[in-house]
């Protein structure tokens, strides 16, 4: 089964298998999904590792992502330059982290980066407001949003500096057993 494909060399496929949570078959399936997004752009031969990036607009039109309010942040976090345009490596990485087999720590790390809208290394109140607004699609009043943010900081901020660091976030994730099942995209 594995020797018939001509897209990757044997070593490349082995490397992908060892570095992600996917099997050979799933990696090929993901490659064809990636290729379908931009058939003119993505070559069918990756043995020479071409430097091809699929633009963000096409990525966000995928059925798995198009109704996700955080799709822009997800694409930005996993893309190389933070602009949402993804190479095949970024694409595989994204779905590998969001798959079932990824451990909790890894998911928590990337979830933290996704919710950190201003990329300053911790989740401040503005980031929280953005998150809540995106979650409720702007239907909560400003006062309710700020109340919620205040409660969140009260609960999760361990060192009381007004923002959540990665450790505070991970501490809070440990208390949420549903995190593994909700932070999961099936592909």
């Amino acid at each position: 089964m594995g020797n018939k494909q001509t897209v990757f060399t044997h070593e490349q496929l082995e490397a992908y298998q060892d570095c992600t949570f996917f099997t050979r078959k799933e990696i090929m399936r993901l490659f064809y999904r990636y290729q379908d997004l931009a058939p003119q752009l993505v070559p069918l031969d990756y043995t020479s590792s071409p430097d091809v990036k699929v633009p963000y607009e096409l990525i966000s039109s995928m059925p798995e992502l198009k109704d996700n309010p955080f799709r822009q942040r997800i694409a930005q976090v996993f893309s190389e330059d933070g602009d949402g345009h993804m190479t095949l490596d970024n694409f595989l990485d994204m779905f590998s982290v969001m798959s079932e087999m990824a451990p909790r720590d890894l998911k928590a790390y990337y979830a933290f980066k996704i919710y950190d809208f201003n990329n300053d290394g911790y989740i401040c109140e503005w980031d929280l407001e953005q998150t809540v607004t995106k979650l409720t699609q702007g239907e909560l009043s400003a006062e309710e949003v700020s109340l919620v943010c205040e409660k969140v900081l009260d609960e999760a901020d361990g060192d009381h500096d007004g923002r959540l660091s990665l450790e505070d976030f991970q501490n809070m994730i440990l208390r949420a057993p549903d995190f593994l099942s909700t932070f999961h995209i099936r592909i």
Binding site: P69, A102, P177
Partner: protein
Amino acid sequence: MAQPLNFVLSVPETPEDHGQEPSPYDESDVHDSFHQLIQEQSRWVAEEGLELQEQERGAGAPQTTGSGRPVPLGPEDAGAHSTATLRILASMPSRTIGRSRGAIISQYYNRTVQLRRRVSRPELRGVGRSARPSLRLYDLELDPAALEEEEKRLLLVKELQGLTVAQRDHMLRAMPLGLAEKRCLREESQTPSGKQRGRPGRRGLLPCCGRLRDACVLALHGLGLGLLSGLLALMPWRYALKRIGGRFGSSVLSYFLFLKTLLAFNALLLLPLLAFLVGVQAAFPPPASPGSAPSFTGLELLTGGGSFNHTVLYYGYYSNSTLNRPCALPPEGQCGREADTLPYNMPLAYLFTVGVSFFITCITLVYSMSCSFGESYRVGSASGVHAVTVFCSWDHKVTQRRASRLQCDNIRTHLKELLAERQRRQGPRSACGRLRQVAVLGLVWLLCLGTTVGCTVAVYAFSELMIKSSVSADQEGALLALPVVVCLLNLGAPYLFRCLAALERQDSPVLEVYLAICRNLIFKMAILGILCYHWLGRRVGTLKNQCWENFVGQELYRLTVLDFIFVLLDTLFGELVWRLISEKKLKRREKPEFDIAGNVLELIYGQTLTWLGVLFCPLLPAVQIIKLLLIFYVKKTSLMANCQAPRRPWLASHMSTVFVSLLCFPSFLGAAVFLCYAVWQVKPSSTCGPFRTLDTMYEAGKVWVRHLEAAGPRVSWLPWVHRYLVENTFPVYLVSALLLAVIYLNIQVVKGQRRVICLLKEQISNEGEDKVFLINRLHSVYERKERSRVGRSQEAERLVDDPDAW
């Protein structure tokens, strides 16, 4: 003892010596390892720090320290601090974990080293009060050696080379680096494979058996994963589950995943039975019974009797002798094959196979329950509901626009409820209101229990009626009466309980669900209990000369099949017809909700029936597998067409744990008790089955042990084990005492962990205060230095303008 941070910044106590104070600007005085990070950060801060600079001069008064608690920083205070302070703050080790690649690499280097040295958890004693105990329990980058990122990378690569392949892969996959980087690391660490073995005693001697154990564990794990993935790949449900998850979310998906789990359990139960009982007996059929066997009519599929009676489906078919026994006497026409001389003791095989399959099921259940518990229950997980809602409640599996909008609505409602609850809780409820609620709750419980008792009595009375009006073999259809009554009651009771629960008006939706599950479970178990008494207590007596085991097996078969039919009816009327009525007549756009708890309880009930019936009908798990497959497709179709996702937020993970534990405790335990009673206490019928000449089924084992005793001294340990460990009651007491001790120890460990968590939280809070203190001191130092510099420059300007002032 405490290991002090290597912070080379000494702030003197007296404010007078300005000249000797090292300024935060002097990078040579600041810690070396911050150097590169500071450069990185200063670029970023310079890009976005314009608004900060305006507030730099003329900022608010420097906060005095020493007078009580320093004011904690708010985001509006951040602008009041200088860019230099911010730079230092931003480059602190605890803040750079998430950002700097160098920090990640060195962290994973530490982790790899500790993996090789097999240090599992550092003692809290060794962690100083000043170093913040990291959640990941490994060292942060406090190593004073100034390593460039490239050097750290080389160190990491070298460490990775020292691991086994599986460990290296595991480490690589868990690293939060980009995929291209990981591939480079993998390539570099892969080169000399010979080097892996030639490392004796370099650091941290790894004993050979430890490495072997690692390899075995990893190989087994890999094998298990491979088998599991192969098994899952066989089932063509990946796409179906994805669609269900996409439209309805994780909560409804948990029902279908539970169904898959049950299929796996049934397959596990069926395999030994097929291999050791059904297959063997089918190869050596017993002599045909006198009288013609009835022909197949369609009714057998429902009643399980008729022509099914004399097939391998039921207990009565199995012979009570040793099959394929080598003949010592001249051939009587029966044993013509001298080549196969492997005798097969059928009674013993029957007893052991059923016992072993139950044992395997028990172990698997307990293991999956403990895994589930480990995932979903955490010490101290009660608080933090707002944070969990904001960060963990968006289900990324949902892919349809309408479902996505529904999820937004749900989360918004939940947040509003949380905010409202907080305000409501602040107002104490009157004693009268609370009393009234307790009274209503008590009344509803009384009604539910009364219904249960009433239905139980009705089933008992009906069963006695069935005994009195003894049914002849021709009226097989009339035997369906009792199962139909039972299924009708099972169908109607949940609806009644739901109506009664509407009276209660519970605040918490989760509590509502738990109460509903509790009531339904009590009802179903009571009905099953009375049926078990009816079979083992009454039917055994009335069917003296007939095969009562076959009868019980057929009853359970009938119950299983009718349960399936009633599930179909329930789906039809509960979902399809209700949707049509609500759309056409009541003109509502809302579809009925998918009742997850009710459906899961139905599955658990069906599985209990299977476990009860395995002893009397060894192929019942196969029937259950077919039934589960059909239920999957029926429920999926009905769900897609008629239902909508539940409105209330559903703790999918907790619920899965609850379901698995319900499967284990009342369901499997009850079936095991029933099995033990049937094996130990009830006299098997004398006309059929493998135990027809014995007093109890267990005696087959005793007979075999006596055979072994007579066989000679070489196998004398087995009878000894039997006499002193199985027949004796002392080992049971010993095992119970050990179990209690283990439970007590676990409780104490959890208590200790809770206390440690409290201490650690306090420590974190203290750390925060320390940081605020230091920042304020830094700020005041810098302010003073700025002021003195401004003062000096102003002096110098004045001197330049007016040289005669001297």
